[in-house]
């Protein structure tokens, strides 16, 4: 067959082609992903400020974060976004998906209404919602509250209402994604299970708890993990909805990513900011691991 003096074996040929396909991507992943990861870990142990030579300072950055009250405020806020955002958004998304699955008339149109916010730019919607939240006579939400006789609310201007106000926007934007995933999960449950339940005389409520929810577990786990990571990384909305993007009033909305951004790119404490990114990374790993473990045990 072959007229080559030394025929290349099929295996070698495949390997050569494979590396030809992978050469550029492998270089990319090494230079743009792995190297920066190591670099971030290295910077976390230095006092680098973008100007002077970096000095190795051990765990000093982590100690500093530990002793900084603002770090803890940002950390607590981030957990609040997560602890409120994940259950509320999943509950609403499930309720919508569960009922939308039973509806046929204009099904696609209604789904599109819920899905549309998912396709918007978070930065732009931050400004839209900021406008809606303004005090009267500017803010539409307060105008509507006034019309039905409810006292005006400060929303973004109050330390207690600002975080929930931002959270609503984040939930609003992500709901469509969760609904579509839930709908797909619901559709994947074989009709025969429901028919069997019907024959056995199960009520709607029983069917929901004994069939639908247990069979949706993979979908649920996926959405919990993805949603948690999303809320831990919240930034765009807070940056655009608070005055000069400072996570105010009085740090009451500031999440950890904004804290990192300010440390690194407002005060140029690169080493310190890198240390906080390492903390964020570890927190994400731990939370994801716990969730996956819990999902397996049950």
């Amino acid at each position: 067959m072959t007229i080559l003096a030394r025929p290349i074996s099929l295996g070698t040929r495949q390997a050569l082609w494979a590396w030809a396909f992978l050469a550029v991507p492998v270089v990319f992943f090494v230079v743009i992903r792995f190297w920066p990861t190591l670099h971030a870990f290295y910077l976390a142990f230095t006092d680098w400020n973008l100007v002077a030579q970096p000095n190795f300072i051990g765990f000093a950055n982590f100690v500093r974060a530990w002793n900084d009250p603002v770090f803890w405020v940002a950390f607590a806020n981030t957990f609040l976004y997560l602890a409120l955002g994940v259950p509320i958004s999943l509950l609403v998304a499930f309720a919508v998906a569960y009922y939308l699955d039973q509806v046929r008339f204009l099904h696609g149109f209604i789904r599109a209404l819920y899905f549309l916010p998912f396709l918007t730019t978070a930065a732009a919607m931050g400004w839209v919602w900021k406008w809606l939240y303004q005090p009267p006579p500017v803010g539409i939400i307060n105008m509507i509250l006034g019309a039905v006789g409810i006292a005006q609310q400060p929303f973004l201007r109050s330390t207690s209402q600002a975080l929930p106000s931002v959270l609503v926007v984040a939930i609003w934007a992500g709901l469509g994604f969760q609904i579509v995933i839930f709908l797909a999960g619901l559709r994947a449950i074989p009709e025969t299970y429901y028919e069997a339940a019907k024959i056995d005389g199960a009520t709607r409520w029983q069917t929901l708890w004994r069939i639908t929810i247990p069979l949706l577990r993979p979908t649920l786990i996926f959405l919990v993990v993805i949603g948690s990571i999303g809320f831990l990384r919240i930034f765009d909305q807070v940056f655009n909805m608070t005055t000069e993007g400072d996570g105010g009033p009085l740090n009451s909305t500031k999440p950890i990513v904004l804290y990192i951004y300010q440390s690194a790119f407002r005060s140029f404490q690169m080493g310190y900011a890198a240390a906080v990114t390492v903390v964020l990374f570890l927190v994400m790993l731990v939370i994801t691991a716990i969730q996956l473990r819990l999902a397996r045990v049950k």
């Binding site: 495949q14 550029v24 990861t37 971030a40 916010p117 406008w131 105008m143 994947a188 655009n240 990114t277």
Partner: protein, 289 residues
């Protein structure tokens, strides 16, 4: 396996049958519709405000009494929204082409070639999914500074030119391409690159379109990295430009809403047309990812 991707079609929506009045379903339908209307209300008010004069903006009417294009002409002539729009368009387009090309190259190689180191490459690429972007922005910034990439299109684009998620997605999809087909092409004398491009790629177009839509959308809406890497106003992307513009005009809400509309509405319209593919894409990437 790829059949799973389209579970949306596996079972038609329940409650089939002929039309008959069902009070329970009617109530559910009404509540769902109202909820959906509430969902799009912020978007509707944004668009409405962009066509209003300042004195009308505090009016709850969605259709302005005196509609005007003045906000648009004002914004386009006094700020750089046109430039930012083109920047976003160019950056998202180039990144999407790169991602679709390279991710399917990686996915195909990992799926269809047997070679030493295959698992290592696969696991290594997959492991990068766990690294949050936030941890990388500081090293990327340092890198851009050292190489002179700050304030350049390349600086904004380089972190997203190849994605682990897309490579993984494409690998899953190439599983559905039968090896016999590739062997037949080999006998016909095509080289591996030609086989990938002419034989395998056309068979995974649903996955390619999903990947393309997603990549475009995530680059179009990206905020943190473009905010960090570009300080030159001429190089802002739309979200960053809007944030800076809004920070300057502050209370001129009709102008901010016009900017926000420019940033979101064209994309919304395109995606509305592609809705079917997007929903499909969300599902298949979601269930695979």
């Amino acid at each position: 396996m790829s059949g799973d991707a389209f579970v949306l079609e596996r079972r038609p929506a329940r409650s089939g049958g002929r039309w008959r009045f069902d009070p329970r379903l009617t109530l559910i339908w009404t509540v769902l519709l109202l909820g959906g209307v509430v969902m799009v209300t912020p978007i509707a008010f944004m668009v409405s405000a962009s066509f209003k004069y300042p004195h009308e903006i505090f009016d709850l009417r969605l259709i302005p009494l005196e509609p005007t294009l003045e906000n648009y002409t004002h914004i386009l002539s006094t700020s750089r929204f046109a430039t930012w729009f083109l920047n976003s368009l160019a950056i998202s387009t180039v990144t999407t082409i790169s991602v679709v090309f390279f991710d399917s190259l990686v996915g195909y190689a990992l799926c269809k070639f047997r070679f030493r180191g295959r698992m290592v490459v696969f696991v290594a690429i997959l492991s990068t999914l766990m690294i949050p972007t936030e941890m990388l922005v500081i090293p990327w910034y340092v890198m851009s500074r050292n190489f002179g990439w700050l304030n350049s299109y390349w600086g904004i684009m380089f972190p997203g030119m190849i994605t682990a998620f897309g490579a993984f997605l494409m690998k899953q999809f190439f599983e559905s391409v039968p090896d016999e087909l590739l062997d037949a092409a080999r006998i016909d004398g095509l080289n591996e690159f030609q086989i990938w491009w002419h034989v395998a790629m056309p068979l995974v177009t649903p996955a390619l379109s999903a990947l393309a839509i997603f990549t475009f959308l995530s680059n179009w809406t990206a905020f943190l990295w473009p905010l960090i890497v570009a300080n030159d106003r001429a190089l802002f992307t739309l979200p960053v430009g809007l944030a800076s513009f809004a920070g300057e005009v502050l209370t001129e809400w009709e102008l901010i809403m016009t900017g926000a509309s420019i940033a979101t509405v064209p994309a919304l319209l395109v995606f509305l047309v592609l809705q079917k593919y997007i929903v499909r894409g969300v599902v298949l990437s979601g269930l695979k990812g």
